[in-house]
């Protein structure tokens, strides 16, 4: 590998990598590239350049709410529900893979696509619902930061505004690459969950058995168990993910030739996020083994600290903050991108503040307002969590239906449209998600219909 940076005057896309002997040159437009000698190095370098949106969308999905849900599942049912999490790996990959194809083929975000192909009414409905559910989710992210900081002995009145300021600075650099590198680094910190699980986990045999062989915890199927299973599904496949990854791909300007690498990026991201979810469940199971009752993940960290030491407690709390930070930047960006696309504003992380004021202002307002609400004493957090659950139940199935219809739009996607087997898999997933979302929404909005269900689910 010569690994030289060069400036190549060409107007023809090199589509990720090109054999130099076949490169055509039409006019002088500088294209920065790197020269490599072997095909393996070329493929590796191309992957590293394309890598990012898939990993970020998947790892950011393990946000504060997800940490809470998975650890609660572990704390209540031990490792019995691991197989459900594993089952969700192909589901989240298939859904996000459709987003990858749509993003690469159109170079536009999901909100813009719904607006253009389904008209103003559905476009506005999706946008308003997305903005609402995203904002409420952001409040829960900052609530988690507040909770974790308090447990670490840091005053949230300083810690929460500091976190918000860092999150705002993160996007204001005018460089997509800088934002992506920092966020990928934060995503890789998620590997700490593997160490936590390794330190706390039950015997490997038990984990493998419960991950591969579907089994039910003692007591069988109860409303509480159903509640938690639906919450696990709901937290693993979130509506903002569709909007975020497609906009991210459009902003990164991924090319048709990048499709296979973008798919690999998404698949690796799905594997990492599901494995991290398994680790969170194992951490919860460890607190159950030592006789602790789950209240929230910060308290769970404190409980684990009682038998595994303060380092472990602080590490879990830091991972909780990291999860919330990742969730916040991804969710806020999905809101800002979607709004910018629909309004026709400049909306790219590549643009400086003065050229994309509306886009950055929306991101800033989302982050600052969510952080501000958390700092209000006696803020109605329970009502906010309830709102997230109901609105997510509304938007997730609808966003996936639009996605599926768009992916069958041959006029739009041509050879990138769904194949018949894609449709069988995806319609099955959609029907199951519809049913689960409906049950979840019914449990949240009409709890009296489910008298024995204790407590609400965690998003």
């Amino acid at each position: 590998m010569t690994n030289k940076t060069l400036i190549m005057p060409t107007a023809v896309s090199t589509a990720g990598s090109a054999d130099m002997s076949t490169a055509t040159v039409e006019e002088a437009a500088p294209v920065r590239g790197r020269v490599v000698k072997s095909k393996i190095t070329r493929d590796l370098l191309t992957f590293l350049m394309v890598f990012g949106p898939g990993l970020i969308v998947m790892v950011a999905d393990n946000d504060a709410g997800a940490v809470s849900t998975y650890s609660q599942a572990g704390a209540q049912y031990g490792t019995h529900l691991l197989w459900i999490v594993l089952l969700l790996l192909p589901v989240c990959y298939f859904i996000q893979e459709m987003v990858v194809r749509l993003g690469i083929a159109t170079g536009k975000g999901h909100a813009a696509m719904i607006y253009q192909r389904f008209g103003k009414w559905w476009g506005l409905f999706s946008l308003v619902d997305l903005q609402l559910v995203n904002f409420l989710t952001l409040v829960t992210e900052f609530a988690a930061i507040d909770l974790a900081l308090s447990k670490m002995g840091v005053d949230p009145r300083y810690g929460v505004p500091l976190a918000a300021a860092c999150l705002i600075m993160l996007v204001l650099t005018g460089s997509y690459r800088r934002w992506e590198r920092i966020v990928v680094f934060l995503c890789l910190l998620d590997f700490a969950w593997f160490w936590i699980a390794f330190q706390l986990g039950p015997p490997l045999g038990q984990i493998v058995k419960h991950a591969l062989l579907p089994s039910l915890p003692a007591g069988g199927v109860t409303p509480e168990l159903m509640f938690l299973v639906i919450a696990i599904v709901g937290t693993t496949i979130a509506p903002w993910q569709l909007f975020f990854q497609q906009s991210c791909i459009a902003d990164k300007r991924l090319r048709f030739a990048d499709l296979k690498w973008a798919r690999l990026d998404t698949f690796l991201g799905a594997c990492i996020t599901i494995t991290a979810a398994v680790c969170m469940m194992i951490a919860g199971a460890a607190s159950l083994t030592h006789g602790f009752r789950f209240t929230d993940p910060a308290q769970m960290a404190a409980d684990i600290g009682a038998f595994a030491g303060p380092v472990m407690r602080d590490l879990i709390l830091l991972m909780m903050i990291n999860a919330a930070v990742l969730g916040t930047t991804a969710i806020s960006l999905s809101s800002a991108w979607a709004y910018g696309e629909v309004r026709g504003w400049p909306h790219s992380l590549q643009l400086p503040w003065r050229e994309a004021r509306g886009f950055y202002s929306l991101y800033l307002i989302c982050v600052a307002a969510a952080a501000g609400i958390v700092l209000i004493p006696r803020a109605p957090l329970q009502l906010i969590i309830l709102g997230v659950q109901v609105l997510a139940g509304v938007i997730l199935p609808s966003a996936i239906v639009f996605l599926q219809l768009l992916l069958n739009d041959k006029e739009l996607l041509g050879e990138y449209a769904n194949k018949p087997w894609n449709n069988w898999v995806n319609w099955t997933i959609i029907v199951v998600l519809f049913i689960l979302s409906l049950i979840l929404a019914a449990q949240v909005s009409a709890p009296s219909l489910f008298p024995s269900a204790a407590g609400g689910p965690t998003t």
Binding site: T2, L6, M8, P9, T10, A11, S13, T14, A15, G16, S17, A18, D19, M20, S21, A23, T24, V25, A29, V31, R32, G33, V35, V36, K37, K39, R42, L45, T46, V50, A105, T106, G107, A112, Q116, R117, F118, G119, W122, Y176, R177, K252, R253, R255, Q350, V394, P397, V401, Q404, L405, N408, E411, L412, G414, L438, A441, A442, V444, S445, A446
Partner: protein, 76 residues
């Protein structure tokens, strides 16, 4: 196919071209032509599309009814 002299040639002129590849970051590459979505207009209302949107409307109405029920129960 002939390739005019470029900085790339100057750096690699002593090496066999067939053995080299140029890898370009998507953000450094020239803009690729994508599907012109604006020219396509709204999606054609096929039977599947119409059925899907009708199901979605029914689902949303059901969800709204559940939320209204919840609000009524809370107000009691």
């Amino acid at each position: 196919m002939g390739t005019p002299a470029t900085p790339l040639d100057l750096e690699t002129r002593n090496e066999t071209r067939k053995d080299h590849f140029v890898v370009v970051h998507p953000l450094d590459d020239v803009l690729e032509t994508k599907v012109d979505t604006e020219a396509l207009g709204p999606m054609a209302m096929t039977r599947t599309v119409r059925l899907s949107l009708m199901s979605l409307r029914a689902y949303l109405i059901l969800m709204v009814l559940m939320v209204v029920y919840h609000v009524v129960m809370l107000a009691r």
